[in-house]
Subunit: 435 residues, 2 copies
């Protein structure tokens, strides 16, 4: 371990070029000086725990390709260790840059350690999920000190970023109570934090001991992902007082973290009408001083359970094009059940589409090149190249295979009326047969 710096942000401030920075600059095809300058300001992070040896580091933030996260983990209703590890491998094969281990029951420590061992993707956790299982006692009996101990344990295990609902402090709760909303607190970690605070009549431990928390983050270089306990759970509640009040607290915490050179990501909505997304991207960037924005969704309508990979692909694409840096996948199982492997695959494809569409929109370097190559292949009726460039090759191949056209180079949609085929012929002065 290089002793000359603590966190990646600390290195940037000292002008030290780390291997992780070099790797990110190479992957993104950007200038290393520009990268360091942005890391110094906190608008780019490289979540990379010093104990995560197998990581292939990725940057998240301003001017970089939008990254995606996949949620996994073992729980009471799904404790099959091996099945979950298979999903992990599939997610990495599908190029997810991050995996959040949301395990809440069973051998969570063993699972987490194996995950860190095998994963080149960055690993995130929500320590509060692990709290009750870890101590095997009632949430109300857990002490503030124990909240921090679990964070330390995750840091030791090599977790790259942790979600902490530190913005749900007593002040935020006052605003929440004065401003009625339809769906209260829908964040799982947020509701647990609220529960603990109400039962014990105490301040949020993550907020009260934020400095101690930062010290742990510095020790392992854990990136803080400041969770949004008050993210809207319905389009009705979006952009309301509770959400914005919490975001303001997160902005203040961001500055405190940066003072100690802790890297920060801010988490965001949630359910949100399509016309509110752009303003919400602006709000986060302003109130949180340009910290990278990590959004779950936004889900643009509440009425499509079974199809929330689509409602969130719509919101995620818009969010990414307007400044979101990191998208959490949502699967077709959202609001209905724990996702299985097929749900995970559909969720990953949808969020990859959203991220890429957003990258084209915000003019990320070379984002359009992929599309250009695909459209050249399409123009040439070069099916093999089209397949190899497809966002999910297996389905594209299968679809064509299941429906063989009369004419080899066309497809059964138009057959001999294929506009690509006919325009190519006529532009070359060749005769065209349609009948």
């Amino acid at each position: 371990m290089n002793k000359k710096y603590t966190t990646q942000m600390n290195a940037a401030k000292k002008g030290i070029i780390t291997n992780e920075m070099l790797e990110v600059a190479r992957k993104e095809n950007i200038n290393i000086d520009e990268l360091i300058e942005k890391m110094k300001r906190g608008v780019i992070v490289i979540p990379c725990n010093k104990n995560h040896a197998s990581i292939s580091p990725e940057g998240i933030g301003s001017g970089l390709r939008t990254k995606i996260n996949v949620n996994l983990g073992i729980s009471k209703d799904s404790s099959d260790f091996e099945k979950e590890i298979r999903k992990v491998k599939k997610a990495i094969e599908m190029e997810a840059e991050a995996i959040m281990d949301l395990s809440s029951f069973g051998k969570t420590r063993e699972f987490r350690k194996e995950l860190v061992d095998i994963s080149s993707a960055m690993i995130g956790t929500v320590p509060i999920y692990d709290l009750v299982g870890y101590y095997d006692k009632d949430l109300k009996d857990i002490t503030a000190k124990e909240f921090l101990n679990v964070v330390e344990e995750h840091g030791k295990n090599g977790v790259d970023f942790i979600t902490i609902h530190a913005g749900l402090n007593k002040e935020t709760i006052k605003v929440f109570k004065r401003n009625k909303r339809l769906n209260n607190i829908v964040s799982r970690g947020g509701s647990l934090t609220y529960l603990w605070m109400q039962i014990n009549n105490k301040e949020n431990p993550y907020y009260e001991y934020f400095d101690e928390l930062l010290d742990i983050c510095v020790k392992y270089d854990i990136t803080l992902s400041l969770g949004d306990a008050c993210r809207p759970g319905s389009v009705n509640d979006a952009t309301d007082a509770s959400q914005i009040k919490e975001l303001m607290v997160l902005g203040e915490l961001t500055l405190r973290a940066w003072e100690k050179d802790v890297q920060v990501i801010v988490e965001g909505p949630g359910h949100m009408a399509i016309d509110e997304i752009e303003s919400n991207m602006l709000l986060e960037k302003k109130l949180c001083h340009g910290a990278p924005f990590y959004v779950l969704g936004p889900i643009v309508t509440d009425v499509a359970p079974g199809y929330d990979h689509i409602t969130s692909a719509i919101g995620g694409a818009i969010a990414a094009s307007k400044g979101a840096d990191f998208l959490c996948y949502v699967t077709p199982a959202e609001h209905l059940r724990l996702p299985n492997e097929e749900d995970m695959i559909e969720g990953i494809i949808a969020v990859k589409i959203a991220a890429h569409a957003g990258d084209i929109g915000k003019k990320i370097k070379n984002a359009k090149e992929w599309d250009y190559k695909m459209s050249v292949a399409r123009q040439n009726l070069d099916w093999e190249t089209m397949f190899s460039l497809s966002i999910y090759e297996e389905k594209a191949r299968r679809y064509r295979k299941e429906s063989k056209p009369e004419i080899e180079d066309t497809c059964t949609m138009c057959g001999k009326m294929c506009s690509m085929r006919n325009m190519n012929k006529i532009m070359k002065g060749e005769e065209v047969d349609i009948l």
Copy 2:
């Protein structure tokens, strides 16, 4: 038949309130005077052929709920009449407001007549698809007069709207030839029109005989859907000279149609980067004088064959929220094969999500009510109501059924950690068990 007016637009101009107007005003919960005023100006249409007895009329345009269209039809690669009629019935059951019959081979007339007989949804066609099969001769040998005869035949059969690529005239082709694009003309009807013009060295018959075409439209009250032959087939080609030149011609044709009281819809892209959609909505509304905009997609990235119901749901939702009035569905089979029934279902759900998300965004009256009811049910953990409000009930029910939770009112995603359940308990002062 009421002899006092020709088309719905003609009635509006004369201040006559038709049954169709009353029905639309009732469905949309808007004032009849406002509806008539907008129909007079052409910014709302009610496509409704006088020979389509079974129709349940719908309005398309300014201030109304975004409507959706489903493409179907028999072709060389799929000539099973009965199978296609089953799809029609399913599409109507799923509340598609329009069905375009894109039949290009076989007993197209019989299919069209049966379709009109059974369909409460409005029916659209692209007469040029039917041309070669109808006369059973080479495209090049078909006369301009014969182009019009097929339109007359479709009108007689009760077709409510027809796509005509009248904007691809000699002037547009000059611009197309001077401004190189990656994917030329990807519109099927547009490429056939181009082919005929090039082989015969003649003006586009739909453009040259536009007045005669209008006379046929008046006779049956066919709504003209002015097709975009130059719609971009890749994000690379979007918003280019060919596309905009053609749109300008469509704007001029719109005014000519309105002069004869023919209702008009204008068709639009296509493949398009997410950051260009809003400007394109504005361009159409300006250049085409507020005529309702009917978009195919926009597909926001070229790289996702097998998932173009998602790429187009993203684009469609944005388009609808920024002024598009009518969305054409795109299925997972796009760019790969003719869609089967399952593809059709997935396509309909995706476009319904896009239309509704767009309606929330453009603040269509009561659009959010559906979401509100769903989120109340979600808050109450009232699964039966959630299912009945779901955009596709079958999948939501199946997903939950396949994965039974430990605690009846929660789901396997969070189990006892369900934020809805726990927040409800704590807000009521009840004890919460998590372990």
